[in-house]
Amino acid sequence: MIDVILNTIVSGILIGGFYAACAIGLSISFGMLRIPNIAHPGFIIAGGFLTYYFNKTFGLDPLLAGLLIIPIFFAFGFLLYRGYNRFFESKRDEREGQMSALVLFFGVLMIIEALLSVTFGVDFRTVTTPWSSIVLHFGSVGICLRMAVPFLCSVLMVCILYLYFSKTYLGLVIQAVAQDSMAATLIGSDPRFAKSIAFGISFSTAAYAGTLFVCLVPVEPSLGMQFLGRVFSIAILGGLGSPLGTAVAGLIVGITESLTTAYIGSSWTLAVSFILLLIIIAVKPTGLFRR
């Protein structure tokens, strides 16, 4: 009995870490930069497909391939923010702009899906590695590396981001810009540059989350659209803009879903993250960990 609970909770923690990796980029782009990038799940899937491509073509380990595509996504995110700022953000006031930006990124999401279908076909794709079927046993708890490795990578990612944003100069500048871009100019930093960097980071996390995704389960191009709601609700649960908060929110959702599957019925799991979200909104609208 206790074994089942333990194993269930461990599964929940492992998948929760992966959820956090998916949501953390959104937390940065929406929480810090106020850019409602609903195309984020689309970029995650794109990252997954690129990892698959590198793995199949050059036989690279997916975790390594993921590291290779990070610079590509970073550069893309950096440039995309430049374009976004030049052609969009600077031209309208923030509140109106956010609503239009939702539609803009919806268009981007459609384009990603179309390009992926054209390039990679519409089949389910996944990456298998020598380590993915290994299962480690700790007493009665079994941990499978297919789940554990993505979890560890996510933890690493959250830690790096946390340290980056709280310890490095540029990280602190980004935080300052997030609070007040006028104030940041006073200390002599270009808010546009800081924001571009942050958006690039957000994209890098999407790329690596995609790598982890394709290691975990098969993906196909239209998955991004379907994954949207959950990623957003985790980012909000964690309090936007807080890497640690997102991690904890991911874990909470993962564990709750896992327990629901085991004890209530798997047919209700999809509702879990949303019911949690509604409860949080009723109690504390700014999310669990908003400072």
Binding site: G12, G121, F124, T128, S133, M147, P218, T261, S266, L270
Partner: protein, 428 residues
Amino acid sequence: MSMKRFGLMLIILVVVASFSMAGGKAEGQEGSDTEPIRIGASLALTGNLGSAGKSILLAWQICLEDWNAKGGVLGRPVELVYYDDHSNASEVPGLYTKLITVDKVDFIQSPYGTPAITAAMPIAMEHGMVYPGNAALAANKEFNYKYYFSFWPLGPRQVEGIADLFFEAAMSSGEKNLTVAILSEDNEYGARVSEGALESVKKYGLKVVYNDRYPPSPATVDFTPVVRAVQNTGADLFFVGSFPQGTISIIKACKEVGYKPKLFGGAMTGVAYAANLTELGPLLNGVCACCYYVPEPTIQFGNVEDFLETYQSRAAVEGVDPLGYYNPPWAYSSMDTLLKAIEATGSLDQTVVGDYILANGWDSVVGKGAWDPAGSGEIAESRGFLVQWRGIESNDLSEFMVPGKQVIIAPEEYQSGPMLWPSPLFED
């Protein structure tokens, strides 16, 4: 500002122009003897059903090429008019109306999947079109349309019948007091499969210890909790009704939590796709699932091998499923049977052709047979069979192209080898 206005006007112009062109496009002139005979369809070429849709399209194209190489139908070339419905059933009624009333195609083929096929059914009925179906679950149940012909190998009992194969195999082991766990995807397919399983279980007097559904991908990413819940019941038979992503993940999860039921599988779809087979590789050993074609000597119908050879050479180039064990033979047969009926009757009249197909049954690369006498539009006898994988050593595609590795264990008439009991799951 004026640049912007100019840009906008340009966009509006393009939209309006394309709209009017679309309305007026392809108003076919009829009657001429050299004009091609046109077959219309919409298919899921994008969206979540895109994979199946694309392989069906290729099969149809091969069929039309075969006919055109032989000089066409009634001396006229055959042509395919198709649209992409984005796997979205609500686009289907409009597209079929356009095919029939605007493009004025001579015959139609169905789209792919139950929702889309059902959505186009009233249109086909209204215009009295012959309506060959491609992979729907009991689409004709409420409609009872006379000219609906389902080219799908499951027969009158549909997916519910898969459960019979699975539990029949389990009973043939001679073991008593087996317990059963049923897990299915939360969609129409899963619902029907689990209903069938409950009926079968009742028939054989087995005991159900677990019965639940899981939300379809991507809502469920991690299957270990649900598999662990099943494992916890200690069920001897684990019957699963899943779509491709679930299939892969559930098999992996079973291996990971170390759950080894005596028989595992059933109605898991996606095990006919090359991408999934190579993904799973040795993990498939001991798994039992319903298939419609495997290279075993006991199921030599029609000339399906020849077709698959052509298909496989083309599929590699076009980037669709390179094996073609699932939809393509049946899609080819669906088109082929229709064209044969036109040729045989010498008529383009829907009633004449429809009555001919109804009377003469189906006959193509998948062999021949009759229609369900009850009028459901399904084939008279199921052509699905239960396969047990064994001796798969690598993740290479060639593993799945030779006999002996995908052994048919039920029904008896197609059996190509004895069932291994208990199933040697995941053994290399």
